[in-house]
Symmetry: C2
DNA sequence: GAGGAACTGGAGGATGTCGTCCACTTGCGT
DNA sequence: ACGCAAGTGGACGACATCCTCCAGTTCCTC
């Protein structure tokens, strides 16, 4: 009876899902460490490196984030939001063409600044709800951005929204190939791509992939849960 | 004294470096198997998979090709020659612009057709002599191809030869990201890139990487001998 | 301040890959 | 025919990474 009266109905402020304070502190450390390590070394680093950086045991990390996918989602939630926001901002830009170009550059720059994010952007994580929400939002806004730029007569009419992920894949290719050795090369690629998007340059293009195909491609190798299944046959 | 008179001074025909015939047969099988497996699964497949496909023990494979790099070089020697030849053929094309475009498409198509070659083309293997000769030849011819297309007023003046490897890196990005799920997407990327190369479309571009930088980038992770050195520090 | 639930770290079994080593086999010269 | 150098295959030790499991610790509640 009295239990409802305890003076602690509000205090559960910053605890995520009722974690004990020490546990929550560790969770934070883990996410921070993951962000750093992923940014430096990509999504494939050994989990133990992250645990070490966070100063916790692997057991702790695994209990909180049982799969790599979940950890990735947690680590990049913020960046995904920033990503969605960038799209919104691009829409705020008065000049439609400027908005479009600025957007492409900006997103590619985000890729360039974080080795893990490079991959995340060309991949899909069905499990991560908030994550996907941001992505969907961004995609919807991007659609408008594209229409606007086409209407202004600046963006070629045969540009499709699927071209953007394709550009990101291309950019990812340059980024991974050049690494630290030639870290600004991507800018030039993006320069080429943007100029190719100009309506004035337009010549016919090969067909884009069906959206469904591209989605499937982005799903490939999607660190989900208990992955690693596929293998061994013959 | 008589030994010089033995009736077998010529017969050493197809033996490579005086291998015993059975050994040479195995060598062939290994190279063939490597070609197949690399094409299907990329350069990072376990060596044992190749040995298995070739029907030989790993020991045999390792004796003949002690490092992955050497095996890769042997497996792709032919393709590298074909690559060099493609450049030559592009020069034979009477229309300079046609020659240039056809070349870019062709090389990118070669990448698309072989998962291993995708990587090989954006990488450098200092150890593989014949290999490098082809690459150098191709590069020299490409230079001419570019000049010719520029002179014809079709190729933008600020195109530099380093842009080609950059395109290949971008293409590689799309190829690896799309895989079998959307296997024609690369064509569209190449369409964009080529149109961006047209002189008429030209707007200023960010600077290209210094040749030396790019070279360094292509050298990264270059399955050389006794690689794996770098690691462990902190 | 005591009891128990929540949480912790890291040892350790499982798996996959590498590259070596060596007892056995085989082609080839005589 | 024979002998041996050349060649062979695959077991094996080393290592990296994964993920689980649990004895011990820490926080929270009453």
């Amino acid at each position: 009876m009295v239990m409802c009266m305890t003076p602690s109905p509000a205090p559960r402020t910053s605890r995520e899902a009722g974690l004990r304070v020490d546990a929550e502190r560790n969770r934070q450390r883990i996410v921070t460490a993951a962000r750093e390590v992923f940014a430096e070394s990509g999504l494939e680093v050994p989990i133990e490196d992250i645990a070490k950086r966070a100063g916790v045991g692997v057991g702790t990390l695994y209990r909180r984030y049982p799969t790599r996918g979940e950890l990735i989602a947690a680590a990049f939630e913020d960046k995904m939001t920033a990503y969605a926001e960038a799209t919104r901002q691009a829409l705020a830009e008065p000049d439609p063409w400027q908005g479009f170009c600025g957007y492409v550059e900006k997103i590619c720059a985000m890729q360039a600044g974080d080795r893990g994010f490079t991959t995340v952007l060309t991949m899909t994580f069905p499990m991560a709800k908030r994550f996907e929400a941001d992505r969907d939002q961004a995609f919807a806004d991007f659609k408008v951005l594209v229409e606007r730029a086409k209407a202004a007569g600046k963006l070629r009419a045969d540009f499709v929204t699927e071209d953007m992920p394709m550009f990101l894949m291309a950019n990812a290719g340059v980024l991974t190939a050049t690494g630290d050795a030639a870290p600004d090369t991507w800018r030039r690629l993006v320069g080429y791509l943007i100029q190719a998007c100009a309506a004035q340059a337009a010549q016919p293009l090969p067909d884009p992939p069906a959206p469904r195909q591209l989605y499937k491609a982005m799903l490939r190798a999607t660190w989900q849960q208990r992955e690693r299944r596929a293998r061994k046959e013959k």
